[in-house]
């Protein structure tokens, strides 16, 4: 079985190497190779998921050995990892297919598909890894591939800056994660997840809030949660399938997966902190999404908000629910991102929703599947989002009212901004020549949309999935099913999406060429547009505090290290050399004089003229 695990891991790596070495100039072959690899991953993953039945599969071997410290390389395939494996392999394959159409006339296809393969390799590494250090290694690798793919259009300044921003902001989170790993090793003497679980099971007093919060920093950076959320909206500068794969369905969800993997390390305080953090993110991102004009940024903020839901579910002690929402979210968010990709492709890279309009008549399939995604994320009854999101809301309702209120407001906002997006993009009449000329995209792109739409409809029915995939979430779903207030929740949930959609219809019907909200309540609009000034605050911090400090350190370095120490040492030697050079004048008399003087000096010394020794 470990052979299969190795195959699934190394296949994309091999593909990206082949692309890098042989296929740089052959974009078409590279793209086919990458899609074939994704297909292979899907097949091997299915084997991994179903072969082991419902048992946990663990295997490891020594990776490297330093004295008595050993780093092990291993696989741990259990419930959450099977679920994520399914999402990564399946959604990843669909997005690869979609990319074939979307990137058909891109000049740097080989680089793009090579990057996708590297990403698949790294992401599968996180999914299968059995210890924290291995997770960290692959964690950095997904960060790298995300950087690579965001900067695909590196000739535009926006993409170049966004990729750097994503990379640097992630470093901040990963630093905390690294500290957490070191602390874990210090406290427990191991970083193997199964061993950690046993240790905590044995002695639950070993866990501490500081430790798990440090580990959660990794989640905060990668899943773009408060206060490191600023990179995700900017990351939309990359190609749209990349946004769908990395910044919606898989990589950002890896943060949640990490939390679920180490959930036994979390204390009650840390959990409630995460719950509030997630809930606040759900609401905050909703407000931000409300006023965005760029179709992808709306979806990016919506991703932030849904990740907040997952964090809240985790914080409420329901890791299974978080994983369940991760899965349904991967379906409908990948669907909407790919749908937006289709729209962007059809409108020749126009991304401002106020330049769209009336696309439903021109792109009926895209519009229909997108509508399904909107309905699913808004929590329309009996679609996938309804099951996962309302389960989270119900849990919150029964355990913590403040979190429920925040999350519920977030749900209202979600349906409002999602229907806003749908109405402005697909209804009304075209508002630019690009949208007038738009036509339905090729079947290669519509195919994945339809499959994802089906999953967005049916993804909530866990009975439809094999037990190997959803086995992990069943316990939590069962406990949700046994909670009180079900009927009340259904009423509230239904009210949320109906109210949101009607409000959106009222505000955004017709065919506005500018955001009607900015006229109706400019103060609110401006507040939302400001995104609470996070970018400005960070910019201010970097410019006014960090840069001057860096300059100060630079001056100190110039003055002391490179000045006093390096130059000083060289200067001393130079000074002696100068003195020596004066003596070395090419006059044989002088040499004779010094020689004899020296000899006399030695003799005098030997004779004890300078005192006894």
């Amino acid at each position: 079985m470990e052979i299969i695990a190795f195959s699934v891991l190394l296949l994309p790596l091999l593909s990206s190497f082949v692309t890098l070495i042989f296929l740089r100039k052959h974009g078409n072959i590279a793209s086919l190779l990458s899609v074939a690899t994704a297909g292979g991953i899907l097949v091997f993953s299915c084997y991994l998921i179903f072969n082991g039945g419902n048992n946990t599969f663990a295997w490891d071997a020594t990776w490297l050995k330093l004295a008595d410290w050993e780093l092990r390389f291993g696989f741990l395939i259990d419930g959450p990892s099977r679920l994520l494996l399914f999402v990564v392999a399946f959604v990843g394959f669909l997005i690869h297919l979609f990319s074939l159409g979307y990137m058909a006339d891109d000049s740097a296809k080989a680089r793009y598909f090579g990057g996708l393969s590297i990403f698949m390799f790294s992401m599968l590494g996180i999914t299968l890894a059995d210890n924290l250090i291995m997770i960290f290694v692959f964690w950095e690798l997904v960060g790298f591939s995300s950087y690579l793919l965001i900067a695909h259009y590196f000739s535009t300044e926006e993409a170049a800056n966004a990729s750097q921003k994503a990379f640097i902001v992630n470093r901040v989170g990963d630093f905390g994660f690294l500290i957490g790993i070191v602390l874990t090793y210090w406290t427990f003497g191991t970083v193997n997840i199964a061993e950690l679980a046993d240790l905590v099971d044995f002695d639950s007093t070993m866990i501490s809030t500081g430790l798990c919060l440090a580990l959660a920093c990794g989640f905060i950076g990668k899943s773009a949660q408060f206060p490191l959320h600023v990179w995700l909206p900017d990351a939309m500068a990359g190609p749209t399938p990349v946004s769908a794969l990395i910044h919606a369905a898989t990589m950002v969800a890896a943060g949640i997966f990490l939390l679920v993997r180490i959930d036994f390390l979390f204390t009650t305080e840390a959990l409630s902190l995460l719950a509030y953090l997630g809930a606040a993110m759900g609401l905050y991102a909703g407000f931000c999404a409300l006023v965005q004009r760029d179709i992808k940024k709306i979806l990016a903020y919506s991703t932030l908000s849904q990740l907040g839901y997952m964090a809240a579910a985790f914080g409420l002690g329901m890791p299974g629910l978080a994983m369940f929402h991760l899965m349904t979210h991967a379906f409908f968010k990948a669907l909407m991102f790919l749908g937006s990709g289709a729209v962007i492709h059809a409108c020749h890279h126009e991304q401002d929703i106020f330049n769209y309009g009336g696309l439903r008549k021109k792109m009926p399939l895209t519009a229909f599947t997108f509508l399904i995604g909107v309905l699913a994320i808004s929590g329309v009854n009996f679609l996938s989002g309804y099951f996962s999101k309302d389960a989270i809301l119900l849990t919150a309702y029964n355990s913590s009212l403040p979190i429920f209120v925040i999350l519920y407001l977030g749900a209202l906002l979600t349906s409002f901004y999602m229907f806003r997006l749908y109405f402005i993009t697909f209804e009304g009449s075209p508002r630019s020549k690009e949208s007038k000329a738009a036509v339905e995209v090729t079947s290669l792109m519509v195919g994945p949309l339809i499959i994802l739409a089906l999953l967005s409809v049916l993804g909530g029915y866990h009975q439809l999935f094999p037990f190997s995939i959803v086995g992990f979430v069943l316990d939590d779903l069962q406990s949700v099913a046994e909670m009180p207030n079900h009927l009340w929740m259904i009423v509230l949930g239904t009210f949320a999406w109906i109210a949101g959609s009607i409000a959106a219809k009222l505000v955004y019907s017709g065919s506005p060429s500018d955001d009607p909200l900015s006229e109706k309540s400019p103060a609110f609009f401006n507040l939302c547009s400001s995104k609470l000034f996070f970018d400005e605050i960070y910019g201010f911090y970097v410019k006014r505090i960090q840069d001057p400090f860096a300059r100060f350190v630079e001056v100190m370095e110039l003055l002391f290290i490179s000045g006093l120490m390096v130059r000083g040492a060289a200067g001393c030697a130079g000074l002696f050399a100068l003195l020596g050079k004066i003596c070395y004048n090419g006059k044989i008399h002088a040499y004779g004089f010094w020689f004899i003087l020296g000899t006399i000096g030695f003799i005098a010394y030997a004779a004890g003229l300078f005192g006894e020794f």
Binding site: Y584, N585, G586, K587, I588, H589, G592, F593, I596
Partner: protein, 102 residues
């Protein structure tokens, strides 16, 4: 009448040595420098001989023979070098022999 004591010999040898030394340091003509070196050696020889006499043994005298042998060899090599130098550079003045100084 004053007798000649070993001190006189030593004073003379020191004088010879000093003259030789000054010659080495001051003279520019390498021929004269070579001669001054010989003078210094002879100053040393004189001192050794007088020590030998004072100490009533032949140690110093023995040393002198060695020094004279070495000095003869040295002069032979030195003069040969000087001749070769003159053939090559047409000069035996030390200020012209500064090829390595820069």
């Amino acid at each position: 009448m004053e007798t000649i004591t070993p001190h006189h010999f030593l004073a003379l040898s020191a004088l010879l040595f000093a003259i030789g030394f000054l010659g080495v340091v001051i003279r520019r003509n390498l021929m004269l420098v070579l001669m001054s070196l010989e003078l210094m050696l002879n100053g040393i020889n004189l001192a050794l001989v007088s020590f030998s006499r004072v100490g009533l043994n032949l140690d110093g005298g023995l040393f002198v023979f060695f020094i004279m042998t070495v000095a003869a060899a040295e002069v032979a090599v030195g003069l040969a070098l000087l001749v070769a130098l003159y053939k090559k550079r047409q000069s035996v003045f030390s200020e012209n022999l500064n090829l390595l100084s820069n």
